[in-house]
Symmetry: C2
């Protein structure tokens, strides 16, 4: 296994994170995610209350979240109930952690380099 810097696996993880961030990168959608986070599984209708767009728009956004793996919807009677899928959220969070951590290392290296002059 190659050393810590820039492994294939890490590059793949980063590429995989992009769609998740893209899914989170819309205000309406991020609000949906936040609401699902604190109010638990919710139907499309209930999610539409409080969102300032049409039910159709909400449905579309939920579909996008589903494709990104961030949420899942199941039919219950005549309503479809959506819930968060925490795994990809965690992965995304870890990606950010890695990048920030690397940046700290980089800054330390640069400082050391400058001080050698």
């Amino acid at each position: 296994m190659s050393p810590s810097r820039s492994s294939r696996a890490e590059a793949a993880a980063i590429d995989g994170a992009a769609p998740v961030f893209a899914a989170l990168g819309d205000q309406t959608r991020l609000r949906l995610v936040a609401r699902l986070g604190r109010e638990g599984p919710l139907s499309v209708a209930r999610l539409t209350e409080g969102a300032d767009v049409t039910r159709q728009a909400v449905s579309k956004h939920l579909r996008v979240l589903e494709v990104a793996g961030l949420a899942r919807g199941v039919r219950q009677g005549r309503e479809q109930v959506w819930q968060l899928q925490p795994a990809p959220l965690e992965d995304a969070r870890r990606s950010l952690e890695r990048i920030a951590e690397r940046w700290d290392e980089t800054l330390a290296r640069l400082r050391a380099f400058v001080e050698e002059e």
Copy 2:
């Protein structure tokens, strides 16, 4: 100060996070961020090597990152050197943490509710 659930401040934090996620939600851009994280400040030219798009495209992406507050570029002679701006990255990470945490609470509540039946 209001209690922990859904404060104005938190809502604002979430809304503010969306543009950051949007900026990270593009593969080319996320790769740039990752590279800046591990290789430190880099010029546009050096960032273009290794990116599979034009220098112009890279420049545009850097501009987007700048608007989102994620990176900053300074002129040094004839080249412009870009570096990461870790604060918004941290904020975004914290937003995800909050959502995940809330989700855990929600699940716990639901489990308790179901068991009461």
